[in-house]
């Protein structure tokens, strides 16, 4: 028996309606643990080279981890994986909430969607019952509205994921939504669901899960919950959630502003965590079994209307606030709501809107092309662009392709400030004086995303003046020194194994990363749930295996994939930061190559960033090594 797991995979062929349930393979659980690991392995095995991300052969895989749904702090994570319509390579995106636990209670660790339905439908799962139901009446509705409608129809016990019009229209950065404000936002997983004509998945599970040591888990789980709440950072971090870092990111000159033209937003105190609490927040909102509810549910009133919205989280503040320069938290929250309802990833959508506004400023996009004047700092402009993107109307059809494809089509130098890596728009940390963070963005397996390795704190530690200098400068005020470039690889690699490990386990990483909940607790909880005695280093070895596998997937799927895929946009190696704490700093192309050279060597990849045969065999991926060498 596989303790901790529900024990089954369920696959639905949307073309035929056939439902297939199979036992969860023991070797899959042993070698890949769950969540992201399952997604990576199944995508590698099941997708043929050259699969069209929007074709019926592409898969949308939902996977939970062994810790999901158990009495373990923050065990509500769910992972979605596919071949990305944004990058053409490996993709996964996760969300909190309650969906993953419900799926396991219904009896399934993994849900695989293949094929394409002939008409709009939604997937209904209630324990053993798995069936497709018509959804013509929901097609065209917003993601939040759809969840409300299905909740009314099915009842509150159903946990539901949906897509909005953006997913239906195959916007390459459409997200999957859940629980009125949680999203698997990145890599276009919502667009793949839309391409399959699937509007939603509703799950109700009433079963139990096998646990290796029930009494032990009950005691340790309760103790863990209390330990997390007693951590020194708990009282400081929980009230504002992730929005609480807005001040700091400006203080260290890393806040995306005006399409990453600069890294400091003078109006940041009007869109920070305190503004969320003082002017928006109604209540805290947490995920399954979470002791640290970082979600903030609130109400925002603007000239365009009044909305109820979860958030804004820090990333939405950065990309809709700083990058589009919306000047009040109410405006950021409104744009956040529009994205949520349309089913757009706030990160990519904010980045795309900012790119379009800079194009307009420079005369690369005209009023005739856009359909109206647009400008930074104008809520109407931002909302107009968001609505056009989601509908693929007019200029929106170009923008819905994301900044990589849109800039290639538009040309005129717009590629230089199309802020992405591998086709995925950059998230909320400007990194021209943060070489570790820059390297993390360059080498993240899904594109420019921060959650694989967030190295900014280490960069700041390395770039600030000495403590004695800080005393004479009155603390931390003033310009930052240029950070050193060499020696970043090992730290980034370490983080790239730690953070994605949580994505394999099916739990949130915040309690460990932010509050310092000790690794010994996770080792013990993992043992009590699964009966497997694995040390933290042994768990990290699995995470390393997954890292090489996801890289190999993109090598297989993207023609010419390698070093050239890892560079940031020219803005970051040609334009010094114009103002703020990092004024004058940037990383040259030579410095970027130094970062990559050291990283590839430390990874055991060749000079072009391709995993070597030796490395793949060392981490237990001999079949992958064979396939790559055979060109399959």
């Amino acid at each position: 028996m596989l303790f901790g797991y529900a024990g089954h995979t369920v696959e639905i062929n949307l073309t035929t309606g056939q439902v297939t349930k199979t036992p969860l393979p023991e070797d899959l659980a042993r070698d890949y643990i769950g969540g992201r690991g399952f997604v990576a392995r199944l995508l590698w095995e099941r997708i043929s080279r050259g699969t069209d991300p929007f074709g019926p052969q592409n898969l949308l895989i939902t996977a939970t981890g062994p810790m999901s749904g158990h009495l373990v702090p923050a065990s509500g994570k769910t992972h979605f994986g596919t071949k990305s319509p944004a990058t053409g390579g490996y993709a996964d995106s996760n969300m909190g909430g309650h969906f993953g636990p419900a799926l396991k209670y219904a009896g399934y660790d993994v849900l695989i969607l293949s094929g394409r339905a002939s008409r709009p439908c939604y997937l209904f799962i209630e324990d053993e019952t798995v069936e497709l139901r018509p959804a013509e009446g929901l097609w065209g509705q917003g993601a939040i509205t759809t969840e409300e409608e299905l909740r009314k129809e099915l009842g509150d016990e159903f946990k539901i994921v949906t897509i909005g019009p953006a997913g239906e229209n195959r916007v390459r950065f459409a997200c999957i939504s859940h629980d009125f404000g949680r999203q698997a936002g990145r890599t276009g997983v919502g667009a793949v669901l839309g391409s399959k004509n699937l509007k939603a998945i509703a799950v109700k599970g009433t079963g139990g899960l096998p646990v290796f040591d029930v009494d032990g888990l009950f005691g340790k789980g309760r103790e863990a919950y209390e330990k997390v709440k007693a951590k020194p950072g708990f009282a400081g971090w929980t009230p504002e959630g992730t929005a609480g870092i807005t001040d700091w990111v400006n203080e260290v000159g890393a806040f995306p502003t005006r399409n990453f033209q600069t890294s400091f937003f003078p109006g940041y105190k009007n869109i920070n965590g305190r503004a969320v609490v003082d002017r928006l927040k109604i209540t805290d909102k947490g995920c399954f079994c979470c002791p640290t509810p970082c979600g903030k549910y609130g109400k925002a009133k603007t000239t365009l209307g009044e909305v109820y919205v979860e958030g804004p989280e820090y990333e939405s503040i950065a990309m809709l606030g700083g990058d589009c320069t919306l000047g009040s938290i109410e405006e950021v929250a409104y744009a956040n709501y529009v994205c949520d309802e349309l089913g757009l990833d706030t990160i990519s959508a904010g980045g795309v809107a900012a790119w379009a506004m800079e194009c307009f400023e420079q005369g690369i996009l005209t009023e005739e092309q856009v359909g109206r004047k647009i400008r930074f700092g104008d809520l109407e402009s931002v909302v107009y662009l968001l609505e056009k993107m989601a509908a693929r109307e007019g200029i929106g059809d170009l923008l819905a392709e994301g900044v990589m494809r849109a800039s290639k089509e538009l040309g005129q130098g717009s590629e230089d400030f199309a802020i992405h890596v591998k086709g995925l728009e950059w998230t909320g940390y400007e990194s021209r004086n943060a070489p570790g963070m820059m390297l993390a963005y360059m080498t993240a397996d899904i594109g420019a995303h921060h959650n694989r390795a967030w190295a900014l704190g280490h960069d700041v530690a390395g770039s600030a003046a000495s403590v004695h200098d800080l005393i004479s400068a009155g603390g931390s005020k003033g310009k930052l020194a240029k950070a050193s470039v060499s020696g970043k690889a090992d730290r980034v690699i370490e983080l790239q194994h730690i953070r994605p490990l949580f994505d394999c386990l099916g739990i949130c990483r915040l309690q460990y990363m932010e509050l310092g909940f000790e690794v010994e607790n996770y080792e013990e909880l993992f043992f009590l749930v699964t009966g497997r005695k694995m040390s933290w280093p042994e768990l990290l070895q699995v995470s390393e295996r997954v890292w090489h596998l996801t890289r190999s997937f993109s090598v297989r799927e993207i023609e010419g994939f390698g070093r050239r895929s890892d560079y940031p946009p020219p803005r970051f190696f040609k334009e010094p930061v114009p103002d703020g704490p990092n004024k004058g700093h940037f990383l040259s192309k030579d410095e970027l190559n130094t970062l990559l050279d050291e990283y590839y060597a430390a990874r055991g990849w060749d000079e072009n960033g391709i995993p070597t045969d030796l490395t793949l065999r060392r981490v237990g991926l001999a079949d992958v090594a064979d396939a790559l060498s055979a060109g399959k």
Binding site: G233, A464, I471, M513
Partner: protein
């Protein structure tokens, strides 16, 4: 006055040489920024501060025994 600093996991992941708790005795009212420097903590690495469980600021002056929570760098969601 005795001021006790409690370092979050995110902070200790960077300042690996420091313990979870640091006690500092001071005679005069002092700003949190100065206390951090005295403790060998770069103020730039502190993202959020609590003073006796309530949100504080780096330039806030402390004039009584206090428990200070220090939250280090952390990523957004």
């Amino acid at each position: 006055m005795r001021i006790v600093l409690h370092l979050s996991g995110g902070l200790r992941a960077i300042l690996t040489h420091l313990p979870e708790e640091i006690a500092i005795d001071v005679e005069e009212p002092v700003s949190l920024r100065e206390i951090l420097v005295q403790a060998g903590i770069n103020p730039l690495l502190v993202v959020l501060i609590t003073v006796d469980g309530k949100r504080g600021e780096k330039d806030q002056v402390i004039d009584h025994d206090a428990r200070i929570g220090l939250v280090g760098p952390m990523a957004g969601g």
